[in-house]
Amino acid sequence: MTSFLPPAFIFIAGAALIPFLRGRLKQVYMILLPALAFLNLLNMPEGSSWVLNLWDYQLIFARVDKLSMVFAYIFVIMAFAGAIYAAHEEDNLQLTAAFLYAGSSLGVVFAGDLLSLFIFWEIMALASTCLVFARRTQASIKAAFRYIMVHLFGGLMLMIGILMHVAETGSLEFNLIGLSGLASGFILLGFAVNAAIFPLSAWLPDAYPESTVVGTVFLSAFTTKTAVYTLARGFAGTEILMWLGITMIIYGIVFAILENDMRRVLSYSVINQVGFMVVGIGIGTELAINGAASHAFAHILYKALLMMSAGAVLYLTGRSKTSELGGLYKTMPWTLLFCLVGAASISGFPLTGGFTTKSMIASAAGYEHITIIWMLLTVASAGVFLHAGIKFPYFVFFAKDSGLRPNEKKLPRNMLVAMGFLAFMCILVGVYPQMLYRLLPYPVGYVPYTGDHVVGQLQLLMFSALAFFMLLKYLKRTETLTMDTDWIYRRGAHILVSFLSVPVAWTYNKLGYVLLEKIPNVAIWISKNPLGAMKIGASNVVVSMAGDKEAKKALQKAKAAYPGTLKEWSISTAVSIALVIFVVYMILFFS
């Protein structure tokens, strides 16, 4: 027997106990659980174990190799930080869902076959829906419903893909699939929904900001990154991913700059950052995959850190619109400090996690001589700094003083500890990247701290900072502009941005409304009395074609009486139907 437990089991079984514990014991338990899982990880030898023979197939619950290990490490670290951050929380739904969610993500990462992957995939969708739902406001309940609909759709695509894959190859193993044929297309589509690949990305900024303070922190880490893992495993080197990734990066930046809600800004930033990883996977060389994996590692650290600081602000002020915040640096120095570390990290300042990881992807593009990708990635780095690195901290903590004086002492101590921990990790990875590089799937010969790289990166950052402060007044949301001679370029830029973003946003809203609200509601209406609904539908058509007033009235009455009582079929109908079927058979036989 093997000497370790699959970490997914530790979390999932552990989650079941949470509702029964109280007070300090519960806090300790929640923090110990990821620590235990971490020790367990250290003990996992490479290879496949925990194999369950399920009828004809083998389910592999622990396929351990370097690619799965690097994601497992960061997931466990994230769960640890998240548990600390959530220690004050008393809502059992959130805590149980969060642990279930982390556990199922680990399950996906260690799944050696497509079926157990699918099982954990669905648990993940369910648990994360609970996290969105847990805020229990009208908006979050609706968002949770839309969220689960999108993920059920994604799961459905994945299931269809897996079924076709099994029918084609006869094997359930999850290895490099590569985009060829319908089966892999469906699987890719299923993964793409979770990776929030544009245009399947609208669910992310829709749902994440509606979640609770704790929920958003967990959400930002797991769903997209498990999808990055599955893409890296199954679709490394699929060229289309490179272009999709670039689209995600640009889309994320544009919308993050336009957005006002701080957690929504960060959500768009998730899409943007995942775009970098997807580009890396699309390039598919060893260096690029390393880059994607290490960037996922660093990104979880700093995005969670940023989400935590946004959560802390929300916790104290109850507001999340940047236009309503500002000047918080006076009373929330620690949060500001940690936030700045995260911001520096996401923008890739030297000595932080972002610097040592993101540039790997750009270098991979450089080595492969995919010039346009390299250029776009470099430009995008500036954009990231603009929206996440400066915009978020500036408008929340500085900018115009909003007069809010939240007392940081009222913030639960554990939240600050969690932020401190992640800030430390960000810097650790930045200062001592070899530690992370050793974990990566392929041997790393990459050296981040060369003179031209450091200088180049600093130049890039300084110029975009300059650009930010020069363009500051246009970046403020909800402020009217004063007209002047600079109208043309100022307005022009604005119109250009609107031109790009408005149709996209409009289509999303319409599509989302029709697919996720209108159609389900109609389906529910019809299901109340299918036959009656069909009758009303038919008479609707008739009335609209040639309807007099009486017919309209009759229709209205029918609609009002709906669903009414369901009609019972008489047995004579049944006998006649049986006879009809009999006759059909006979005619077919004798003709």
Binding site: D56, L156, L163, P530, L566, E568, S570, A574, F582, Y585
Partner: protein, 503 residues
């Protein structure tokens, strides 16, 4: 003695059915003991037959020592031993369950008769499964049907009489069709033994008499099976019959009819028949199956009475079974056979739970299920598991059968069936979610108003069903999970059966 086990399978319940009402005169509980012991013996015999079939191959038992084409043969192979175990197990579970359940749903004086008819019903089912003679199938079919009508009508509800009457008409037409089909077969071949028929039929495959025979047999059995759109008798029957009866009929009656269809379509007639037929027979059954799957799920959504909802959901599930049959491939047949097991388990468990709710509250509307999670936690846990299995959640047996059906339909190039299967799973999830949501997350009716104040100190008392009802319910529900994970045993048996059937 061991040699005569196949005959004892029929003889013991038949004799016990005669004794039951007599000793029931002393006290009705004695008849319950008789039934439980008898069905238990049947179950044990089925298991030992399974062992024999697995170790020594097919069994051929000659009734009264007469050699097969002339005498009646009981032929047992992988297929019918599989169905036999499902039937005898569910009959046993139903018997144990009925002890307390019928207290509220059947008059005191009728209890011994109920048990007598119950045994006849089981006899008929076991007979249909075990026999290797097609006329014998008809005879046992009639025994099952007649005792079935009585079982439905024996309850306290007056509406049950109408349901039973409708069933009587439809059932008789179905059985008559079946008999006419047999008549044509006998006319052409001069034999009634299934193995003998299978050997003699091929030379007549192109004749009109055989076409007619096939049509009569299939349509007749489809009526008995309640395949959409010939299902009209079923919802009322399941709704108004006593819950124990609904459970056992849903779990066994439809299964045996499905078994008979498989036997007729793939043993009496051989796959060659379908290639020689003047038109492609497959699409008709396939279309009916797809219509059944979708219509059953949609109709189930519209119901407000839980028993009726379960009945319509059975219409959909029967669609799955027929779907697998109509695919005419090994994986499809495996899917179909696993779904037989699956549906027997989960529909049995669901009706058991509904019976327990009726026992405690006397009501069957879905509204009434609100807040039951706190009052009847164990029953509701069983309900939830069965509902998950019905939806086809991985690690339940429902997933295994749907998996095979989906793989089979992709294999033969009908990939459009996959969305149908998944869509219907989604619909299933929706109509069960309504109930699960009401059970676990909503306060009970009439308790919302003063809920908050006494949240802490006035927890609703757990008032679960009595043990004699809980034990079979939970066992069956757990089996949904057990066979979902350790599906190897039923799948390997089903695979052997499927390979033999489709050669």
């Amino acid at each position: 003695m061991i040699k005569h086990l196949p005959a004892l399978l029929i003889v013991i319940p038949l004799l016990a059915a005669i004794i039951t009402p007599i000793i029931g005169r002393i006290h009705w509980v004695l008849s319950w003991y008789t039934v439980t012991i008898t069905t238990f013996i049947s179950f044990v015999i089925s298991l030992s037959l399974l062992q024999t079939v697995l170790l020594q191959g097919d069994i051929s038992y000659w009734m009264g020592g007469w050699q097969p084409p002339w005498g009646i043969e009981y032929a047992i192979d992988n297929l019918n031993v599989y169905v036999m175990i499902i039937v005898s197990f569910m009959a046993l579970a139903g018997a144990i369950y009925s002890k307390n359940n019928i207290n509220v749903e059947i008059d005191e004086a009728r209890k011994p008769f109920f048990y007598s008819v119950y045994l006849l019903f089981v006899t008929g089912l076991m007979g249909m499964v075990v026999t290797g003679d097609i006329f014998n199938i008809y005879v046992f079919l009639e025994i099952t049907s007649l005792s079935g009508y009585a079982l439905i009508a024996i309850g306290k509800k007056r509406q049950a009489l109408v349901g039973a009457y409708n069933y009587l008409i439809m059932g008789t037409i179905g059985a008559t069709f079946f008999l006419l089909g047999i008549g044509y077969l006998y006319l052409m071949t001069g034999t009634l033994n299934i193995a003998d028929l299978a050997a003699r039929l091929p030379e007549f495959y192109q004749t009109k008499a055989i076409f007619t025979a096939f049509t009569f047999l299939v349509v007749g059995l489809c009526i008995k099976l309640a395949l959409f759109p010939m299902h009209f008798w079923m919802p009322n029957v399941y709704t108004h019959a006593p819950s124990a009866v609904s459970a056992v009929m849903a779990a066994t009656g439809a299964k045996v009819a499905a078994y008979a269809i498989i036997r007729v379509m793939f043993t009496v007639f051989e796959p060659e028949f379908y290639t020689l037929a003047p038109f492609n027979i497959q699409p008709i059954l396939l279309i009916l199956a797809v219509a059944a799957i979708l219509a059953g799920s949609i109709m189930a959504l519209a119901q407000t009475d839980i028993k009726k909802m379960l009945a319509y959901s059975s219409v959909g599930q029967i669609g799955y079974i027929v779907l697998g049959i109509s695919l005419m491939s090994v994986n499809g047949m495996i899917g179909s056979l696993i779904h037989l097991l699956n549906h027997a388990m989960m529909k049995g468990a669901l009706f058991f739970v509904v019976g327990a709710v009726v026992y405690r509250t006397g009501l069957t509307s879905i509204e009434n299920f609100r807040g039951l999670g706190k009052k009847m936690p164990l029953s509701m846990a069983a309900f939830t598991i069965a509902a998950l299995s019905m939806t086809g959640v991985p690690l339940t047996v429902g997933f295994v059968s749907k998996w095979y059906l989906a793989v089979a339909s992709i294999e033969i190039g009908m990939w459009w069936l996959v969305p149908v299967i998944l869509l219907s799973s989604l619909l299933t999830a929706i109509y069960f979610w309504r109930i699960i949501d009401a059970v676990w997350f909503k306060p009970a009716l009439g308790e919302e108003s003063h809920g908050h104040e006494h949240d802490d100190h006035q927890k609703p008392k757990s008032n679960d069903a009595p043990a004699s009802m809980l034990i079979p319910t939970l066992t069956v529900a757990m089996l949904c999970l057990v066979f979902g994970v350790f599906a190897y045993a039923p799948v390997s048996l089903a695979e052997k059966a499927a390979v033999i059937l489709l050669k």
